[in-house]
Amino acid sequence: MELVVDRRRAFAYTASHAFDPKKPTLVFVHGAGLDHSLFGLQSRYFGYHGRNVLALDLPGHGRSEGPPLPTVAAIADWVFGVLDAQGIGTAGIVGHSMGALVALEAASRRPERVERIACIGVAYPMKVSEAFLEAARRNDQAAFDMETIWGHAPQVPLGGNPNPGMWMYGDALARLARLAPGVLYNDLKACDDYASDFAGVKCPVLLLLGKRDVMTPPRAAALLQKLPTAKTVLVELSGHSLMAEAPDATLDALVAFFSEIPTGRPGR
C-alpha cells in the first residue's frame, strides 16, 4: 500500500488485504538497514488471520522515500503519522531490533494508542561498537559484513535455512547492497543514541529473544525484563534474525501474545 506521511511517499505491506476498519491493526517495524519483507511469513499470517497488517518500510528503506529519520523518537512519531494517515486509532506493534526500540518509544509516548508491543531481538541500551559505527559512516563493506555476520546465530552459515533453498547471509548482503549510502549509519546511530526510562510504557510487552543472538544477546535485555508488563520468550538456536532463523517459533510466540486479547479496538 502506498501512503503519504509527512508529505513523503511511504510503503506498507498489507498481505494483499484492503484496510478493514472493523479489524484490529498490527504494525510491523523493521530493524536497521532492513525493510518490511523481513517479516514476510509472520506479517502474512496475521493479514490472513483477522488483522489489518501494516508492515512498514521506514523512510529511506525499501520502497519508502528518504531521507531516513535520525532518531528513534522521530521514527515513533512517523509510525503514528502512518496510523493517522489510515485513520487508525490504536494498534499493536511488532518491532525488530531498532524497530523494537521504536515500539517501546511509541508505547511510552502515546500509551493510549498502543495496545501491546512485541520486541524481537531487542536490547537496552542498544549500544553499537565504535568500529561498526565508523565502518557504517564510511559506507564500508565491513559494516555490511558485521551486520550480516553478527545479525545471525553463529551456526547459520553452516546450518540449514528453515526457508528451503535460501541462503540467509546472501539475502542480508543483497538487502544491504540496495540501501542508499548513509542509511545503515543513520539507523545504527539512532540505536546507539537512544535513551529512555520507559516510564510511559503501560501496555503488555513481549521480549522475544534469540538465545544465540550475538548482536543483542539476551542478557542485554535485562533492564527491559524489569518492566512490570514485560514477559520474555527465549528462542533456542536463533540469533538476532529470529523471523528468518526461527520463523515458526517467532510466529507461535506472536500469535500467543496477540491472542491474549481477542481483538483490538477498531479505527476511529
Binding site: Y13, S16, D35, S37, G40, L41, Q42, R44, Y45, Y48, G62, R63, S129, A131, A135, A142, D145, M146, I149, W150, Q155, P157, L158, G159, G160, N161, P162, N163, P164, G165, M166, W167, Y169, G170, D171, L173, A174, R175, A177, R178, P247, D248, L251
Partner: protein, 435 residues
C-alpha cells in the same frame, strides 16, 4: 578491531545448508526419499500452503535433501538462494519462463551450448519468445540488439565451442543501463573458478551434471539469484511486480523483495512446469560439491599440461584455450579467471575427418561421449558426432572445422593423458597419410 569473518569456500562446500540431522544425528546429508510431508494439523497445512510458515509440502516444490544442495550452491555463489532443477536445461527454461512470456525478447551470446541454442532459437520462439544472437565479444552488438521488449541478456561464462570468455562486467553494465538483468551459464567455470555475481551477473545457472557433480552419475541443474537486481525499479517485470492471479494476487517483489525471483520460480515454475530435482540426485551432486575445491585446481593443472603438450605437437594445427596468448580473450581471462580457464578446450587435428575419426578410435584413457566436466577425461569429435550433418562451410560458421576435437580434462595422471593423446595422434597421422 578485527571484523567478523565469513566461512571460507572450502568450509562452505562441505557444510553450508546442513546441520547434523536433528532426528538421527546423521552427519551425512540424509536422503529424504519422500514425496510429501505430514501436516501437524489443518491449521498448519493451511499456513504452509499460504506461505505463512516455512517448510515442505510436496517434493516437486521443495525437499529437505534438495534444499541442502540449493542452499550450499547459493552460499558458494554468494546468492540469496537457489532452486535445483531436473537438468541444466530445466534451469535455463525456469529462468526465462519466470521473467517473461509471449512477446518478449532475449539477447543471447551466439556462442552457446547446442541445447541452449535450440531452446532459445527454436523452441521458445514457438511460444512467442524471440532471441537475437550476438557475437559475445562485440559489446556494441549486445547494445544494439536490445529492444523495448527485451527482458534478459544471456551468455555462457566460457562459450561453446571457441571458449569465448564472457566479459561479464561490460555486458552486465550494458544490461543494467537498459534496466535488464544478465543471466550466465556458469557450468564451465563453477563457483570455484569465477566470482560470477561479484563481476556483475544477476542470475546464473549450472548444469550440475558437470563439474559440480563431477562423477557423471546424475543429471541436474541449479538456478541461483544474486538478489541484487531491483525488479521494481526496472519496471519491466510484471511477473514479479504485479499481482499474480495464480497465487492469491501475490506481488512477489512486494512480498519478498530480494527473494522475489526465486519465490515466483518455485511457486509457479516448479509447481506448474514441474522440472524438479529428485532427492537422490541432490545427494549425489552434493557428494561432488564437497570436493569441488580439491578437484578444480587439479582439473586446471592437468588441462594446462595437456594444452602445453598439444600446442607443440606436429599433428595439431591449433589449440583453442583462453590461457594461451593466441586466444583473443587471453587478457580478459587473466582478469576474470585468475584461478584458471577451466578444463574444457578444443584443438584442431591435421588431416580432416579421417584423422579425427582415427584419433578418437585410438584413444584408450579418454572416453568418447557427449558430456564434459567429469572426473574422467572425455573427448568428442563434433564433425563426426554432434555436427555430423553439417558441411565444412556450415561447420566453419559454428567455429568448428572437420578436424576440431573437444576435450574435457579429468583427474587422471596427466602423463597418462598425454601418452594416450600422443599415441592417438600418431595413429591419426598415419590415417591421414593413407587417405
Amino acid at each position: 578491531m578485527a571484523g567478523p569473518k565469513y566461512p571460507r569456500f572450502e568450509t562452505l562446500a562441505l557444510h553450508a545448508g546442513q546441520s547434523p540431522d536433528p532426528a538421527t544425528g546423521s552427519r551425512a546429508v540424509p536422503i529424504y526419499q519422500t514425496t510429501s510431508y505430514v501436516f501437524r494439523d489443518t491449521e498448519h497445512a493451511a499456513s504452509l500452503f499460504n506461505m505463512e510458515r516455512a517448510g515442505h509440502v510436496y517434493s516437486r516444490i521443495s525437499n529437505p535433501t534438495v534444499a541442502v544442495l540449493e542452499e550450499r550452491i547459493a552460499a558458494l555463489e554468494g546468492g540469496v538462494g537457489a532452486i535445483a532443477t531436473a537438468s541444466g536445461q530445466a534451469a535455463l527454461h525456469l529462468a526465462v519462463a519466470t521473467l517473461m512470456g509471449a512477446g518478449d525478447h532475449v539477447v543471447a551470446s551466439g556462442s552457446l551450448y547446442g541445447g541452449s541454442h535450440n531452446l532459445l532459437g527454436y523452441t521458445l520462439k514457438r511460444f512467442g519468445i524471440e532471441t537475437t544472437f550476438v557475437n559475445p565479444r562485440e559489446l556494441d552488438a549486445w547494445k544494439k540488439a536490445i529492444r523495448p521488449n527485451t527482458r534478459l541478456l544471456f551468455g555462457e561464462t566460457l562459450g561453446n565451442p571457441g571458449l569465448d570468455v564472457l566479459d561479464i562486467p561490460s555486458v552486465a553494465a550494458i544490461a543494467h543501463a537498459a534496466k535488464l538483468p544478465l543471466l550466465v551459464d556458469a557450468t564451465f567455470t563453477t563457483p570455484y573458478l569465477m566470482n560470477h555475481f561479484g563481476l556483475g551477473a544477476d542470475l546464473l545457472y549450472h548444469s550440475a551434471t558437470k563439474f559440480l557433480g563431477g562423477h557423471g552419475v546424475a543429471i541436474g541443474g541449479v538456478l541461483v539469484d544474486s538478489g541484487r537486481f531491483d525488479w521494481e525499479a526496472s519496471g519491466k517485470f510484471a511477473t514479479l511486480t504485479a499481482p499474480y492471479e495464480g497465487f492469491h494476487g501475490m506481488d512477489f517483489e512486494e512480498e519478498s523483495g530480494t527473494r522475489a525471483f526465486l519465490l515466483r520460480a518455485r511457486r509457479e515454475g516448479l509447481r506448474d512446469f514441474g522440472a524438479c530435482m529428485a532427492p537422490m540426485t541432490a545427494f549425489q551432486i552434493l557428494q561432488g560439491v564437497e570436493t569441488l575445491h580439491v578437484r578444480m585446481p587439479r582439473h586446471v593443472e592437468n588441462t594446462r599440461a595437456v594444452v602445453g603438450f598439444l600446442s607443440n605437437h606436429p599433428q595439431v594445427s591449433k589449440v583453442i584455450y583462453p590461457e594461451l596468448e593466441s586466444h583473443p580473450d587471453h587478457a580478459l581471462v587473466k582478469r576474470l579467471l585468475p584461478k584458471g580457464a577451466g578444463a574444457v578446450f578444443s584443438f584442431e587435428i591435421k588431416g580432416g575427418r579421417p584423422a579425427g575419426r582415427k584419433f578418437i578410435e585410438s584413444l584408450r584413457v579418454f572416453s568418447h561421449l557427449a558430456n564434459v566436466g567429469d572426473a574422467k577425461s572425455l573427448v568428442i569429435h563434433p564433425a563426426t558426432t554432434t555436427h555430423y550433418r553439417m558441411s565444412d562451410a556450415d561447420l566453419a560458421k559454428s567455429g568448428i572445422t572437420a578436424g576440431t576435437v573437444r576435450l574435457s580434462i579429468g583427474l587422471e595422471a596427466s602423463a597418462d593423458l598425454i601418452e594416450d593423446l600422443d599415441r592417438a595422434l600418431q595413429a591419426a597421422s598415419r590415417a591421414a597419410a593413407k587417405a
